[in-house]
Symmetry: C2
Subunit: 206 residues, 2 copies
């Protein structure tokens, strides 16, 4: 296989799955190329360095996740129920990952943040952009909920940051304990952080 866009896709897919399993620092370009089934020359044709590749992996992963988040968070359901659906889909995705890899792999952006953000400035900036975009999307739903009088939190941005921080914290525990049940608390905690009605007041499946 030569310098086709197919080779680029194979490198990206191999890198994404290896980074998910073992992080970034532990990987070498040779290993990524072997897993992708492409010669090393192809790698450097498409990517200047391992760091350039990591940025492309982050972009690709976020493009996919952003579509999922937008489908849920810009949907027609009541604002708080969209947040609940986001947590349910997160748990579902972590469970699927666990079934296929044997372990909960967590959030790639969180993983790379704690592994790398202090080591490479371009990766730090890209990860900041990803989390800024996540907070933007949650903030917009929080604003809608506030306008409807569903919540008592008054600072949409701060509230959205806290919801995303709680999500990252619980995903960290789901990974550590290899147990997706850690994510069950997300919905009730989100309501608490937003000063919303108790969960039992929101009809299930509404």
């Amino acid at each position: 296989m030569g310098r086709t866009s197919e080779a680029r896709e194979k490198i990206l897919a191999a890198a994404q799955s290896l980074i998910e399993l073992r992080g970034y620092s532990a990987l070498g370009v040779a290993e990524i190329c072997k897993a992708a089934g492409v010669p090393k020359g192809s790698f450097y044709y498409f990517f200047e360095s391992k760091e350039t590749l990591a940025l492309a992996v982050i972009d690709e992963q976020w493009a996919a996740q952003e579509r999922d988040w937008a489908r849920v968070l810009r949907g027609d359901a009541e604002p708080l129920l969209r947040l609940r659906q986001l947590f349910e889909e997160t748990e579902h995705a972590q469970r699927s990952g666990q079934r296929s890899c044997g372990t909960v792999s967590g959030c790639m952006f969180g993983n790379l943040t704690l592994e790398l953000s202090n080591q490479t400035e371009p990766i730090r900036i890209r990860l900041q952009q990803v989390f800024d975009a996540q907070v933007d999307m949650v903030e917009s739903v929080v604003g809608e909920a506030r306008e409807r009088g569903d919540i008592t939190a008054t600072d949409d941005r701060e509230a959205a940051r806290s919801v995303v921080a709680q999500l990252e914290g619980q995903v960290l525990f789901a990974k550590l304990y290899n147990n997706t049940r850690r994510l069950d608390a997300l919905w009730a905690n989100c309501l608490a952080l937003l000063g919303a009605r108790a969960p039992q007041d929101v009809p299930v499946g509404a």
Copy 2:
């Protein structure tokens, strides 16, 4: 310097500071020995492997942090104020780290969890023990607050887990944005998660 306990301490101190700066996978034994100023033979006299060293670093770090947490959380102040003091000391420690290293280094246990927990079972188990112990300590304070009628949360364990998850999530953002102000939200969020009185009802500095 030979196979003295001083050499072991130097290796541990060098490893701790290198892991804090660059994570675990990116480090080699040779680099750790060089930073510690000890010959490689000394390393293998004290530590069977880099993994054994990482376990010792975790133990040492947790022994120190557990003393700090115990001083605050088993103190005489009202239960909720002890939690506030814990967050204030966390922010203070992260600010000191930022002044000395130039960047917020975050929580070593959280960093190693996201970098490593899926790769080495002994490290996963040790990190689980550390976080279990953190949750135990917070749970005990939450129980006291519940008995006093200060909070409405009824499941002490689950509430304590959520408080620690929020802490880890906000520390992740403090590291990513290299900004300890991200930790300012911890106290208000803790009160929200516990169903406690609003912050303004608790006298500042009480």
